[in-house]
């Protein structure tokens, strides 16, 4: 597979001023400022393949945004190398900007008081698009993102979901090869979130668009990405496929049962989460007790009326990883 992004030993550190509270300390800080070194990103390496959707996640302040800024050429690294589509971002920032698109969920690139069409028109000129190419692309994006009904309404009157659809569409006006999505589903309701995810997936599959996604929403990762990179305190703490991640962290299964008689398990690795009459909810550590073992034991003692086996939610897996780091 062709690699479109290669990051090697990338690091970024900067100095930040520290000052204790109070007037006296403020004066002290004026005369003798004290600085501390902050290592925002520490020697991270990874690559992104053409046409994949990669999740780049981590808690607040983990270094995600700094990494993206270095990948798009906005920040200079302290050391390490980055190659995006054959370019060194901070040396060829302008050239690279024609090949990449970006959407920052919390920061709009639309003009608030004007209809979306004006922002599309501006972006077309900013990216120096040919008038005919622009018209064709606009027609395609309007159809695909279903923007017709609000293309002529001021952006300030759009719902958040409509605005995000416009934001993603406008970032694609110049047909970028890589799309950087920073929290694209933040603040959206479940229905709109799924619409946005479907659109991203569709773009990826039809246009072979590479997507570099950062999100706090585990649903985005689970539903869109094949691979996930977890970063914390500037360090890369996990790099695997979403399936491997689930497998590695899914040592426990949740068993929800409706039985004929009251039953209390006495097997190592099985914890009772809830018991009410013949209803029972168990957590089974599969490294100590197989599902077969516990079900056999239940059947030996009583009969099963109803049963549901569920996995640990992805959200909890991510939380475990963050806490572990």
């Amino acid at each position: 597979m062709e690699k479109v992004v290669e990051v090697s030993d990338l690091a970024k550190s900067f100095k930040t001023k520290v000052k204790k509270a109070g007037l006296k300390e403020s004066f002290k800080s004026l005369i003798h400022p004290v600085y501390k070194d902050v290592k925002a990103v520490q020697d991270i390496s990874f690559s992104v393949e053409k046409g994949e959707i990669l999740a780049f996640i981590g808690p607040n302040g983990a270094g995600k945004s700094t990494t993206i800024k270095m990948m798009t050429g906005i920040l200079y690294p302290s050391h390490g190398t980055v190659n995006v589509l054959g370019l060194i971002p901070w040396k060829s920032r302008k050239k690279l900007s024609y090949k990449i698109g970006s959407v920052f969920g919390q920061k709009s690139q639309m003009w608030f008081h004007l209809p979306p069409e004006d922002s599309f028109h501006l972006m077309a000129d900013i990216y120096e698009l040919d008038r005919i190419d622009y018209r064709n692309k606009l027609t395609e994006l309007v159809r695909r993102f279903q923007l017709e009904s609000f293309m002529h309404q001021p952006v300030r009157k759009l719902s958040l979901g409509q605005r995000i659809r416009c934001e993603i569409a406008v970032s694609l006006i110049h047909s970028p090869e890589i799309l950087f999505l920073d929290e694209p589903t933040i603040g959206l309701d479940v229905v709109v979130k799924n619409q946005i995810r479907d659109l991203i997936k569709d773009l990826n599959q039809r246009n072979q668009l590479t997507v570099f996604l950062t999100s706090h929403d585990v649903g985005d990762v689970e539903k869109l990405c094949r691979r996930v990179i977890v970063i914390d305190h500037g360090k890369l703490i996990l790099h695997s496929t979403v399936n491997e991640l689930k497998h590695a962290y899914l040592q426990t299964k949740i068993l929800s049962l409706k039985l004929e008689d009251v039953y209390t398990p006495k097997i190592q690795g099985v914890t009772i989460l809830k018991q009410k009459g013949t209803g029972l909810k168990l957590e089974v550590d599969t490294t100590q007790c197989s599902l077969q073992q516990i079900i056999d034991d239940i059947i030996k003692n009583t009969s099963i009326v109803d049963m549901m086996i569920s996995e640990t939610p992805m959200e909890e897996i991510i939380e475990t990883i963050y806490n572990g780091s």
């Binding site: 900067f14 800024k69 906005i74 920040l75 990449i100 003009w111 004006d118 900013i126 120096e128």
Partner: protein, 263 residues
């Protein structure tokens, strides 16, 4: 290629213009403020000029001078706060990853907003003065040259607003810089009192500073025409080059500083 590059800034200019039309009510407030200024100062200048002319200025000429300086002063689109905020929050990054010059982007926005307001002010102020004074010491040629000089004056002002906004790369608080700058415009910029009224030493000092080329010089061109234009316009262009070059260089240094603060 150069045309395409220029077109993007013209589109930014055009979009800002359309966007500003959404704030038409602000114009009414500004006109009321402007009208009040003209009214109050007419009493002051009538008293000052009751015995005749000062340095070639009559009461009527002084009122038109004041109208021109105020038209420019009130037209300036104040963007340094927005820019400083962008730098402090890191939002400037969203501009830097687009294929345009941030400086020219801001210039196109600034000029679009400022020019609309300046032309509206000139129209409003001229009507008021013409109706009340029945005299206008200006010719169509003066007007055209005055507009060129005003645009250049606004450009010099842009470099200072950009400089103040950019100071956020190094300083956490920059409102004091704007305060000091506006006071320079009030005094040695010739907003209320023409530089020509100053003692010789201060007149000479003001000639060397950039502030009079923002307000005093264009206002004098409107009133005095070709000769004044030939004298001040090259100096205005010189200031645009000096300060424009300086902000260009400092911005490059600043964005490297952003690299240090960023994240």
């Amino acid at each position: 290629m150069a045309m395409k590059s220029l077109k993007k800034y013209l589109t930014i200019f055009q979009i800002t213009f359309v966007n500003d039309l959404m704030y038409t009510r602000n114009f009414i407030g500004q006109f009321m403020f402007f009208g009040l200024f003209l009214f109050v100062y007419s009493f002051l200048w009538r008293a000052v000029f009751k015995d005749g002319q000062i340095e070639g200025f009559s009461f009527v000429k002084m009122m038109w001078y004041f109208m021109f300086t105020e038209s420019i002063m009130l037209a300036k689109f104040v963007f340094h706060r927005e820019m400083a905020q962008d730098i402090k929050t890191g939002d400037i990054a969203y501009h830097l990853n687009k294929p345009y010059s941030y400086m020219l982007f801001m210039y196109a926005k600034y000029m679009s907003s400022s020019l609309v307001r300046m032309f509206m002010n000139l129209l409003f102020g001229s009507v008021i003065l013409f109706v009340t004074l029945h005299e206008a010491p200006i010719t169509p040629v003066n007007l055209i040259l005055g507009v060129f000089s005003s645009i250049t004056g606004l450009t010099i002002n842009f470099t200072f607003y950009f400089l103040i906004g950019m100071s956020a790369f190094w300083f956490e608080e920059n409102t004091a810089f704007h305060f000091i700058y506006s006071k320079f415009l009030f005094t040695v910029g010739g907003l209320f009192i023409p530089i020509q009224f100053f003692p010789d030493w201060l007149k000479q000092l003001s000639d060397k500073l950039p502030f009079m080329y923002i307000l005093n010089a264009p206002a004098k061109v409107y009133i005095e025409g070709v000769d004044e234009f030939i004298r001040v316009f090259p100096l205005q262009l010189l200031h645009v080059c000096i300060w424009g070059g300086l902000i260009g260089m400092l911005f490059i240094v600043g964005t490297k500083k952003l690299a240090i603060n960023g994240g």
